[in-house]
């Protein structure tokens, strides 16, 4: 959409102000995420740029908040660096503990959500599926129902089963919340799926299992992985259910950030946030690569 040669001055002004406005919106979208990155290297315990930082004085920058992630909660944070220090940090540092929890919970709930979700998406894409719309609406519902309602409901339910404040409880909750994303992405992959490939396979003597593993699986794998990534990030980000269901032992990164923001606000949170932004950049890249691969596999040419 470039400016045509015959554009008048009014159109010119309109064109440039439109671009300017869009530029502002993009800034609005990205700046808040970028701004925390330099702030996380602040040498001072504040949430704003010090004069030294603006002068790019190296002394105004430090890694102390990253070190704090490793040391906060250690039994002896001033001990000399060595194996004992690493063991102490690994076992006692609060942030490391919640990172381990986050990854563990996200990993297990992603597997649950992906297996259930992919099977269901395969069923939903069959042409003979009865009550398709109704079932689809049910499967998407956990994404739509306000989190606070799901979290409160699961709190009562899991308490009755004495599963609140356990990993099992949180994993169930996160699997429920992750399922819609897997169903949506895998269903979207299957929409463009050429069913004659399955028939061709069967025609050449493959049994249904072989057809599934040799033909269907490779084609839907990109969709499955991006669904799994969505489920993973959903669990990794989720905090409302964790607030209701987790005890101290099960706290995750977002839970720790939540209490950090409400109680003792420290730039360590910015350091953690920077790490999380890096993680989302990695995930975004993986997704983009998967999308391209899927397009290539299905013979869609990039425009």
């Amino acid at each position: 959409m470039s400016l045509p040669a015959y554009a008048g001055p009014g159109e010119r002004i309109w064109y440039y102000s439109f671009r300017f406005f869009c530029g502002l919106v993009f800034l609005f979208l990205i700046l808040p995420i970028i701004v925390i990155i330099p702030l996380s290297f602040n040498a001072e315990p504040y949430f704003s740029f010090s004069e030294g930082m603006l002068r790019l004085d190296p002394d105004a920058y430090s890694l102390r908040w990253y070190l704090d992630i490793l040391t906060n909660g250690m039994s002896d944070r001033n001990a000399p660096f060595g194996w004992a220090w690493i063991a102490d940090s690994w076992n006692n540092a609060q942030w490391l503990h919640s990172m381990r929890n986050s990854f563990f919970i996200a990993f297990v709930s992603t597997i649950l959500a992906t297996v259930f979700g992919t099977l269901a998406a395969l069923g939903l894409s069959q042409s003979d599926m009865p009550y398709r719309n109704l079932i689809m609406s049910l499967l998407i519902a956990p994404m739509i129902v306000p989190l606070i309602i799901t979290a409160a409901a699961l709190f009562f339910f899991l308490s009755d089963l004495s599963l609140s404040q356990t990993y099992t409880g949180i994993i169930i909750a996160h699997a429920v919340l992750g399922v819609p994303f897997v169903v949506i992405t895998v269903t979207a992959t299957l929409v463009g799926f050429d069913r004659s490939l399955m028939r061709a396979g069967a025609n050449m003597g493959a049994n249904p299992r072989t057809v599934f593993f040799k033909i269907v699986m490779p084609l839907i794998t990109p969709g499955m992985i991006s669904g799994a990534l969505f489920a993973f990030i959903t669990s990794f980000d989720e905090v409302v259910a964790v607030i209701f269901l987790a005890g101290f032992e099960q706290r995750t990164i977002p839970r720790q950030m939540w209490s950090g923001l409400r109680e003792q606000i420290s730039p360590t949170i910015l350091a953690v946030a920077t790490i999380m932004v890096t993680l989302s950049i990695i995930l975004l890249t993986v997704l983009e690569l998967l999308r391209r691969r899927s397009e290539r596999l299905r013979g869609i040419k990039p425009q």
């Binding site: 808040p32 939903l124 799901t150 399922v179």
Partner: protein
């Protein structure tokens, strides 16, 4: 093939002698079963892990058997009380027996809390009576109880007692729309200072509408730009939309706290530019403004992505055709382009609206008093005041609203068409 003609499948037979029609029907049935079988594991998982818990919680909004169970002897007698004056000695005897047992079971506190929700200020009646209940060794208990606390001689107290021992109730719904049961069992408005929920619902709706409006305002031009730019540029710019979408909600809320707080980056900038003096730093956080800004940022990608996917499908030749027929840029845009994007606007708006009326985290962190939404009060009643019945009633109302919007979304867009990125 018309209805009157004979279907070939009626006549044809497969090699094992079954008519083709029956064979086809059987194959269809088998396919249906297979499809259902594939969906079944997830269906069962969601019914047990999602639908059932939600149903059970919603039931709490009408079902509160706690008090009646603790005071079960009194509850049995209470049914026959005519509601005049105060009850007779038999009921007072039952109260003493119930409270004595409740003291042993350590359930007096729970009964007191339940009672206090529907009749504020009466918590101590139960706890104090409980402490002295062992001194009442013999009757008449009526005088004994009234002596410990004169609330036991209060007609209104007893009316409330009678309502509370019933397991099913509508009082939570009445409370959640700022009504209560008055002295003579009639429905009256809550006193002025306790009318908070209707206002909160309205505020939630208005703020969600404002946030949705801002998202359209900011999202529409950007989506248009993304949809019309050559792919190599738009792919790059798309990252600026997708990165926030993929970044943790808490990280983004943290960023906004960093930016908006009094000693924060934005205030530093305006003070540095000399627009505002150092003493008059702007209060941008802990109010509705902060919540709105942060939530627009968080929800904007949910507007841009559906808009973009609709705009992408609109052929640019339509606009050129309109212009070649004499419409100016503005008319062509208004009469040809915008109508085609309305499904995208609808999808994005409903999605943003649904998500924002259920928002909890961001309002809790940057909202302060005036930026709280209905979810926050539900969380408050769940965790702090422990008035679970009221929390459930508020949640039910919220859920009904959301389900209505979801139904609307389904009508307009169809859940099958939901996509990410």
């Amino acid at each position: 093939m018309t209805d009157t003609s004979i279907q070939p499948s009626d006549l044809l037979e497969t090699d094992d002698g079954v008519s083709l029609k029956a064979k086809l029907a059987r194959a269809t049935r088998r396919n249906k079963l297979r499809a259902l079988g594939l969906v079944a594991p997830l269906g069962i998982f969601l019914i047990i892990g999602f639908l059932w818990p939600i149903g059970a919680m919603l039931l709490r909004s009408v079902h509160a058997p706690d008090f009646g169970e603790i005071m079960y002897r009194t509850a049995a007698l209470m049914e026959d009380w005519d509601g005049e004056g105060i009850p007779d000695e038999a009921i007072f005897t039952a109260v003493v027996a119930d409270l004595t047992q409740a003291k042993e079971d350590k359930t007096i506190g729970r009964a007191a809390t339940r009672f206090n929700f529907s009749f504020p200020g009466t918590r101590s009646v139960f706890t104090r009576t409980g402490r002295k209940i062992n001194t009442l060794t013999e009757g008449p208990y009526t005088e004994g109880l009234i002596e410990i606390n004169d609330a036991w001689g209060n007609h209104e107290f007893w009316l409330n007692f009678q309502r509370l021992v019933k397991p099913f109730t509508t009082r939570f719904y009445l409370n959640s729309v700022d009504y209560q049961v008055g002295e003579n069992n009639e429905i009256v408005r809550q006193p002025e200072e306790r009318q908070i929920y209707v206002r909160l619902f309205i505020r939630t709706l208005i703020m969600s509408a404002i946030i949705t409006g801002f998202c359209i305002l900011l999202g529409y031009p950007v989506s248009y730009l993304l949809a019309t730019l050559p792919l190599r540029y738009s792919n790059l710019l798309m990252i600026l939309v997708l990165l926030p979408f993929w970044t943790s909600l808490l990280v983004r809320t943290t960023s906004w706290i960093t930016l908006l707080q009094k000693e924060g980056v934005l205030n530093d900038i305006v003070v540095g530019l000399g627009l505002v003096s150092d003493e008059n730093r702007l209060q941008m956080m802990f109010n509705a403004t902060g919540t709105t800004i942060a939530m627009v940022h968080i929800l904007l990608p949910f507007m841009i992505l559906p808009l973009f996917s609709v705009m992408k499908t609109i052929p640019p030749s339509y606009m050129r055709a309109a212009r070649s027929m004499g419409a100016n840029q503005f008319t062509a845009f208004r009469r040809v382009y915008i109508p085609q994007t309305l499904p995208g606007v609808g999808a994005g708006s409903i999605l943003v609206f649904i998500l924002s009326i259920g928002f909890y985290i961001t309002p809790a962190l940057v909202g302060g008093q005036s930026g709280q939404l209905i979810s926050n009060i539900i969380a408050y009643h769940m965790q702090r005041s422990l008035n679970w019945g009221l929390a459930a009633a508020l949640a039910t109302i919220l859920l009904l609203g959301v389900l209505f919007l979801y139904w609307l979304y389904n009508k307009i867009v169809g859940v099958d068409n939901m996509k990410f990125g």
